[in-house]
Symmetry: C2
Subunit: 201 residues, 2 copies
Amino acid sequence: MSAPIEFYFDFSSPYGYLGSEKIDALAAKHGRAVDWRPVLLGVVFRQTGAVPLTEVPIKGDYSRRDFPRSAKFHGVEGFRMPTKFPIPTQAPARIVLWTKAHAPARTAAVVHALYRAFFHEDVDISRPDLAAKAAAKAGVDEAAVRAAIDDPAVKDALKSENERAMAAGVFGSPFTIVDGEPFWGVDRFDQVDRWLATGGW
Amino acid sequence: MSAPIEFYFDFSSPYGYLGSEKIDALAAKHGRAVDWRPVLLGVVFRQTGAVPLTEVPIKGDYSRRDFPRSAKFHGVEGFRMPTKFPIPTQAPARIVLWTKAHAPARTAAVVHALYRAFFHEDVDISRPDLAAKAAAKAGVDEAAVRAAIDDPAVKDALKSENERAMAAGVFGSPFTIVDGEPFWGVDRFDQVDRWLATGGW
């Protein structure tokens, strides 16, 4: 079995959400697993000087039009912009790290449950209690993931994850790395698909 | 005949170049003409606070990897990063505006000749003499287009074009508008294609 596809994402990223809905099938098509890597774009952006997309003049207006259009284009049903956006994403990111360590088979389901809570149901997953409740729908223990959000060890793990992501060149969401080759954006999934099929060009 | 596709681009934009190589066929497929709209991203970026992509930490390194990879992915042969990059693009942009006014049938050929001079042959088309020489290969009069670069009326026309582009929401290159619907990037050409086929979704 080849190495897993590294899929970096921030829970407050609409394009990251779209990518999360497509990456399972893309990986499976090529016999790969997905390594789900939550990051905090707020921290990453300090390195690049970026600001949240929706807060950029002109470009922000475009992005609010492009999000639902791209969702429909990619066949992702149910997308709606959350009322509160962007949000800090430490809580859901820590839940994912805890899940990877303690219930790895549930990781994909937990990511999907959290993302859908935010981008379908307008649940503010920056709130620890709401994030834990959303994740529990994917079969992890609600009390355990709620506790993980405040666990210093999990907090440190997320900081380390962010450091590793930045060291690997991650600067946006979604960010996919296939055998060392980096692809930024769900709009590079067509290139990811061909790269997986051909090993590069 | 439906309205032309508005194709906004900056001559110093690698993704604009890739778009320029694809837009003719995409438009023709749907029975549309292309309205070539050169803009100056340097002016546009003042509104959004953007800086040239290659100058952004981390993201710049990625972009230098993504340019040739995307060129190959899109089947665009001969791409190479120019030695001097980015460049100011008043000279080639003014040549295009002159051509649209005085030899409109040559417009696409002039755009292609200028873009290829820069991104294939490493010609510094920010230099008026070199831009005029490159454009002349597409069948326009070299002395006439060289004079256009210094013509106050053409200079004013380019300023007006930039104002109109920004008023239309253009903030990057390439930027394609189809019947009022905006699409940023050559990586939205798949959406442009479907939009032209279906009239939206």
